[in-house]
Symmetry: C2
Subunit: 281 residues, 2 copies
Amino acid sequence: MKAIKKIDEMRREVSSIKSRGMSIGFVPTMGYLHEGHLSLVRQSLQKADVTVVSIFVNPAQFGQREDFKEYPRDLNRDSEVLEKEGIDYLFVPEADEIYPQGYKTYIEVHDLQDKLCGRSRPGHFRGVCTVVLKLFNIVNPDVSFFGQKDYQQAIILKRMVKDLRLEVKIEALPIIREEDGLALSSRNKYLTQEERKAALVLSKSLKEAQSMIEKGQRVSAAIIKGMKEIIGREPLVKIDYVEIVDMDNLDPVARIEKKALAAVAVFIGKVRLIDNTILLF
Amino acid sequence: MKAIKKIDEMRREVSSIKSRGMSIGFVPTMGYLHEGHLSLVRQSLQKADVTVVSIFVNPAQFGQREDFKEYPRDLNRDSEVLEKEGIDYLFVPEADEIYPQGYKTYIEVHDLQDKLCGRSRPGHFRGVCTVVLKLFNIVNPDVSFFGQKDYQQAIILKRMVKDLRLEVKIEALPIIREEDGLALSSRNKYLTQEERKAALVLSKSLKEAQSMIEKGQRVSAAIIKGMKEIIGREPLVKIDYVEIVDMDNLDPVARIEKKALAAVAVFIGKVRLIDNTILLF
């Protein structure tokens, strides 16, 4: 594994890979890697000739009162883990190379960026799209891997890629969970033992949604009510949103007549956690 | 010259050119070509192995009450002219391929996009950046040529290219003028004979600015006053703005102590015309 900090050096490696006709699989991350990230890495190792993983805690996707400074970082551990997985390149750009002085350009995916998490995190998806487009322009991947825990992010990036006629394929891979159901997230580290236990209501509420569907319930309002009841039992958990939305445009659906997404966001203390599931018939 | 309408066909040609190690020069236009455009085309023919010219009247860069529908078009004449110049590819994409149903992605170059023309044309530069980035992603040029009549546009595109780490070089070439000083513009076609004559105050005011500099004037307010007096003599002409700004950040400069840009925008009837000059010592 070769670790690279400089954009120009990464570009040179990419040119050389491309000139040999090899495909590039890319996993952009903010580091503090868990099994969710590693599932993406392994998929890339399988599907592409060369795998590039980036670690960059992107300031542009954090709000002013969010956890950019506290976001967990452990580059040494991440680096060891990735080396063991057998990736080819670890790209760790510096912030002042990604956002040099006078930086002014942002990508907006209108409408989709304002829904679900976009409502409580204005500017978040603008920051995500901007850094991902820039990383794509540097790494020039054939395929890039994202987790479905950030379902909205994956939908927005797919739209961006289509709209801007980029030649990269976006693959969104299933959520990886702890045995007790908690979706893996670098932010789980923030939770106290008590909060960690309380956080289980996210996945429980999603299971309840699926179970209501299986019992024949089709009215979203009824399912959302059931989900909120489960979450409401935990006094440590404050709901940001509980929604059932269309898989493609993320608009709320009133009656579930085809595959739909149940999505939850909560605050536990200062920690914001999200989870979702695709509701199946 | 090969004329191409479909994005996928253009892409295939580009791949083939690149695989032969040839460079691509690109001149994106909205058609109704004049000598200004042709100066860009000729530069591309000189500098690049293959020259691609696009003609696309981009709806996203027109305001709701602007002249998108009336914008002059003459594809047959343009096509003949370009064939005669000896370009390799004429790319004429269709609007529903550039902005397919559900299109949502826009590029914003903050701050720079709000100055000068951005104030009276909100959304204009967002539309320009969006279509140019997309065309770049399709045509994959090594160098792309723009006119300095749209100085702000060139500055914004250079910023975008730098910020997004694109590998294209932006070249901005001098304004081409009629013998009497009128800057060439496809919109000149709209002018009546009387308006055409009145429009000369733009270039006259810019000449006056340069002449005041040469006489030792350094105070922008005094120069702008002189420029406005000249323009004010023509009752058909309504000033949008007259400014002297920094060459890089487009902020107004109070005292001219290095190269600066004098920029003018006016309305003559419904027609909006712009012109500018770099003030030299």
